[in-house]
Symmetry: C2
């Protein structure tokens, strides 16, 4: 095998020298019937724990595939410690947000129901599928965690007190997001909070303003849709405080 | 009228004190049958030239509406001078990119066909409709221009020589995008170039590398889809060099 295999799969099994891995029926079908891979072909595997490994297809059939793990291509490393809390939005936009937040290296995706949130349900399975596919394709070594939707007051109560919360808002003392991110403690884990498109209520605003370790960030003079705001905040944080100082992948 | 009207329309007619504006049948239908607005109700109008004005519905019927222009709410100002050149992508993702680039204040959207571009056609009308709707909703005072797709060599030949081109790439000397943006001349107009997902060919790379006034920027260690890359580059530029230092709109 001369270069890293193009096909990259997230699996749950352990990965180690000499291991043999059995794929799920879905994965087996994908390799066999969609990609038409045969024994002897190589794929890339990761599991969020053991790094990234090459693996050779030993056998493959209807609904099954057996892979012999080869060499470790990359050691395990964690995605940057940035969480995205956001008021749920409708399906297509939510799919985009989750997919792109994953590409942008988010560590945790937490739907937060506020008083002006229109959409309250979030289909966990669908989100998971999106997250896995996006993680496979963007070449990160782990999956973002996905929280079950919870109300704002509970989400805040459960939120670690020593973790900075950056609320992206259009009121009061919001400072430009670059200023807020630039003045965070170096290496500090952060949670980016995006409210519903109707905004936070005065009550919710007070809840945030009276909490320790909360900063208010503005995202410019135009109205942003919730998914745009979430991705923008994540981008600015990664670019300034996250891992975008690292060199891009050398693909060619 | 106590607060700015929620309904905001882009029109082509001149806007001035005492003017009377006739809406297009589509706009009239939207106000009458979708929003169910009646004479006496107010909307907001902009045309990219005269700023933003309130206007009162004088008469409205099937396929027509006549508005009396009221007061100017905001003076005309231009969106920041940032262009987005990108290799075309499939429809849903293209819609997403165009909509969000508009929210992020892009000045010009230029599809650029490269050797590894898969999608070559771009439906101009559809893009225009998306751009208008996004411009209305994000409260910008102008529309981004949309260029017809053109080949990379021609796009580069036509590109103003004194305008910096920031190519977002995964090769060679790409420096982190924050570093590139931070070292641009203050206030300089810029073009962000996003290549196709298969990347630029060696030939195209040479074309870029031998050109004056080109910088190469990296967007982190994960593979980004083209629309994610475009929006991320635009976000970083706006946040650091564009108009995100301005206060967010005071909506509440």
């Amino acid at each position: 095998m001369s270069e890293k295999p193009a096909t990259r799969l997230y699996i749950e099994s352990d990965l180690a020298d000499g291991a043999v891995v059995g794929l799920s029926p879905d994965h087996a079908h994908f390799l066999r019937s969609v990609l038409r891979l045969e024994p002897g072909r190589w794929v890339t595997l990761f599991n969020g724990r053991d790094g990234e490994w090459s693996a050779r297809i030993d056998g493959i059939g209807k609904g099954w595939a057996s892979l012999a793990v080869g060499t470790r291509l990359r050691e395990q490393s964690a995605s940057p410690d940035v969480w995205l809390y956001f008021a749920p939005i409708k399906r297509a936009r939510l799919d985009f947000l989750v997919q792109k937040a994953t590409e942008l290296g988010v560590g945790r995706i937490q739907p937060v129901v506020t008083q002006r949130t229109i959409v309250e349900r979030v289909k966990g399975e669908r989100l998971s599928a999106n997250v896995i596919e996006a993680s496979e394709q963007c070449e990160r070594l782990d999956l973002p965690e996905i929280g079950d939707p919870m109300r704002l007051d509970k989400a805040l109560a459960d939120h670690p007190a020593d973790r900075t919360l950056v609320a992206c808002v259009e009121f009061g003392d919001a400072r430009p997001v670059v200023e807020v991110v630039s003045t965070l403690p170096a290496g500090a884990p952060v949670t980016l909070l995006i409210g519903p498109e109707g905004g936070f209520t005065p009550e919710e605003r007070t809840l945030l303003e009276t909490r320790e370790n909360v900063r208010f960030a503005g995202l410019g003079p135009r109205i942003l849709r919730a998914e745009t705001a979430g991705l923008a905040a994540l981008t600015v944080w990664q670019a300034l405080a996250g891992d975008w100082a690292e060199a891009p992948p050398k693909r060619y």
